[in-house]
């Protein structure tokens, strides 16, 4: 468990707003070369890792991107104007520190005349401490992306809290599952999917390229075990959530049964995820070419969509174990 925790923390420390995956992936892919036949980054920025072997072609996918902000204008006096990359509520950013991919750090301010409930990105600016546009442009030219800083910390009960745990925790589980299956000589591919938070764009092209027999998608699903939380029958620490449906997919019943049976045999306690408004990469895989069988295994996370999410390491660990067991059970 300590190893998994450290791995998640290491992955979550990287700044990977959607569209920036290509720059962040090479080191990670290099670390998999010992077990993979082939690693590459495709046009959309997906990190794709392949291993030949026996059995059906199993793909394991976890998106590696996170929502963030993008510099869209530099004011004469050096302030930056920003847009979101993916879905990040503008109000949440006020007063927070953001870090850009080049390393620069700034604080997000808001124009004074706007009321809190009416704040849009047009009202926000980032203060880098620069005095001139030239100075700011050199550090963060238009198009530079950044994220709200919220380093990962440890909470009680084997929980982690912080930025990008959604979905670096999933990436950690996916990478470990890939290692285990490849190590057993199975035919398996790993997709560290790009541009998920802007609409499952990477998953679409990865699915087309890989044509797998089955895909297991690992992602966060919102927990509902907080005071007066939006109703959601998922609790932290209660084990992996087998997705029943989200806004992009209805999981075939046979797949649900396969996952439940695999969990029973492994004595893994599972929960069921019904998330009608949820967005995931699952649908993009499912609808590729003539249709691809998808199983989705989620780890519950509190405050999904916020800047800091909370996950339980034991859930992530169990997600990894369940994906390995399900991949082996699939014929």
């Amino acid at each position: 468990m300590e190893r998994m925790k450290e791995f998640i923390r290491q992955l979550a420390s990287q700044i990977i707003p959607s569209g920036y995956e290509r720059n962040a992936l090479p080191d990670l892919l290099r670390s998999l070369e010992d077990i993979a036949d082939e690693t590459h980054i495709d046009v959309l920025g997906n990190g794709i890792v392949k291993k030949a072997g026996h059995g059906p072609h199993v793909a394991i996918s976890a998106h590696i991107d996170e929502p963030g902000v993008m510099v869209i204008h530099v004011e004469d006096n050096g302030y930056l104007r920003i847009l979101s990359v993916g879905d990040l509520q503008p109000g949440r950013l006020i007063g927070r520190h953001v870090q850009f991919t080049g390393g620069s750090i700034g604080i997000v301010g808001v124009e004074s005349e706007v009321r809190a409930e009416n704040v849009t990105y047009d009202h926000l600016y980032v203060d880098l401490g620069c005095q001139t546009a030239a100075e700011a442009n050199a550090l963060t030219p238009i198009g530079t992306c950044g994220v709200a800083l919220e380093p990962v910390v440890e909470l009680e009960g084997d929980c982690l809290a912080g930025r990008a745990l959604d979905n670096r925790a999933g990436c950690a589980a996916a990478i470990e599952a890939f290692r285990a299956l490849a190590g057993e000589g199975r035919r398996v591919s790993l997709v560290l999917a790009a541009q998920s938070t802007v609409g499952a764009r990477g998953a679409k092209t990865a699915a087309f390229a890989l044509e797998p027999d089955v895909v297991f998608v690992i992602d966060a699903a919102p927990a509902g075990d907080m005071p007066k939380a939006t109703r959601m029958e998922l609790s932290l620490g209660q084990g992996p959530a087998i997705k029943i449906l989200d806004g992009t997919i209805v999981i075939p019943l046979a797949m649900k049964d396969l996952l439940r049976k695999a969990a029973d045999e492994m004595k893994i306690n599972v929960q069921y995820e019904v998330w009608p408004n949820g967005k995931s990469d699952s649908g993009a895989y499912h609808l590729s070419q003539s249709g691809v069988l998808v199983g989705s295994i989620s780890y519950p996370a509190r405050y999904v969509g916020g800047i800091s999410t909370v996950v339980n390491i034991n859930d992530v660990q169990a997600v990894k174990d369940l994906v390995i067991a399900a991949a082996k059970a699939y014929q």
Partner: protein, 341 residues
């Protein structure tokens, strides 16, 4: 002049025939092979026997328009938008309807008869109608069929200092630029693709890119420009006359940083002005193209268009020329091997 002919042609989404015919006529003896597909996309292939990366140039033929959906007893026609139209720009505008291009006027209650409340509220689409001068439903339906489409009646004219006004610069500027680029000789295979149904969901481009499966795709678009009084600089998107606009992020695309840098370096090298499109809203065909198959690399080059999607739009002819230059310079650089993914 091709741009004038193209902007004055009728071509709402799904009804691009007139635009397609103009382009086919323009290019028939200048490319090697032309054909259409099921959706109505027009393909113009050139140098397919040559080796080197296969380039797809894309522009969409369709424009935002209206479809007649109902005739009232008194002969007035109800309509629905095809594509994104702000109902506030429609009142009192002349339109042309159907294959006969019959004139009509989008009518509303005169100011004399409006209450103070009515004067304050913009009219909704369902409160508007098109008046073709018919006196009855039968008379109206003798000339117009339900399902006929309508477009704005604006004629093309050059105005002011190197500017032009017309309807549908979005995306007839792209059609004209791609046609001009296709008239030239290249050392690599280039396909000009004139797509359908962009305004209602990038539909034509999806099928076209799948068919062509190019190594590199460039969408040429007319894009949002609001560099006017009281617009803060971060709300302008683009500035008229400052050159072709390159996308960093829009509703469907996060720019591929490698190709964006390539386009900027190409513009700098060839002394072509350029700017970045500084807004997230809106999209263009490249948003669909880059997600096709295993992913297609490329980007968009856009001409700033003031009052886009409205009856009368304005472009800078310098921006038009600079955008054409950038498209051609990009192909030149690609054929000389300077694009390496």
């Amino acid at each position: 002049m091709l741009l004038k002919q193209l902007t004055e042609a009728m071509g709402p989404s799904g009804f691009e025939d007139e635009v397609r015919n103009l382009l086919r006529e323009q290019l028939s003896d200048k490319v090697d092979h032309m054909y259409t597909d099921v959706l109505g996309n027009l393909f113009a292939e050139k140098h397919s026997d040559k080796t080197g990366p296969r380039v797809m140039l894309d522009a969409h033929m369709d424009e935002v328009g209206m479809m007649i959906v109902h005739a009232e007893d008194n002969g007035l026609l109800r309509f629905r938008p095809l594509g994104g139209i702000d109902p506030r720009v429609l009142v009192s505008k002349p339109v042309r309807i159907g294959s006969e291009k019959r004139y009509g006027v989008i009518g509303s209650k005169p100011i004399h008869l409006q209450t103070m409340e009515e004067r304050k509220k913009p009219l909704r689409m369902d409160q508007l109608y098109i008046d073709i001068g018919a006196q009855s439903k039968d008379e109206a339906l003798a000339h117009i069929q339900l399902g006929d489409v309508a477009v704005f009646a604006t004629e093309y004219a050059e105005i002011g200092e190197r500017a032009a006004k017309a309807k549908s610069f979005d995306d007839r500027v792209g059609c004209s630029i791609v046609a001009e680029a296709m008239e030239r000789q290249w050392q690599i295979p280039v396909t000009g693709v004139f797509t359908v149904q962009e305004e209602i969901g990038l539909r034509g481009a999806t099928a076209a890119a799948y068919r062509i499966n190019p190594d590199i795709a460039i969408a040429v678009e007319g894009t949002v420009c609001f560099d006017v009084v009281d617009a803060p600089s971060h709300g302008q998107s683009t500035v008229l006359g400052k050159g072709p606009a390159l996308t960093v992020q829009d509703g469907q695309t996060l720019a591929d940083a490698r190709f964006l840098e390539f386009l900027i370096a190409t513009a700098e090298k060839h002394n072509i002005p350029w700017q970045l499109r500084r807004v997230k809203g809106g999209s263009n065909d490249f948003g669909a193209i880059h997600k096709v198959r295993e992913g297609i690399v490329g980007g968009a080059i856009s001409v700033p268009v003031r009052y886009i999607h409205a009856p009368a739009q304005i472009i800078s002819l310098d921006d038009y020329q600079a955008s054409l230059q950038l498209v051609c310079a990009a192909i030149t650089e690609i054929q000389e091997g300077r694009w390496n993914a």
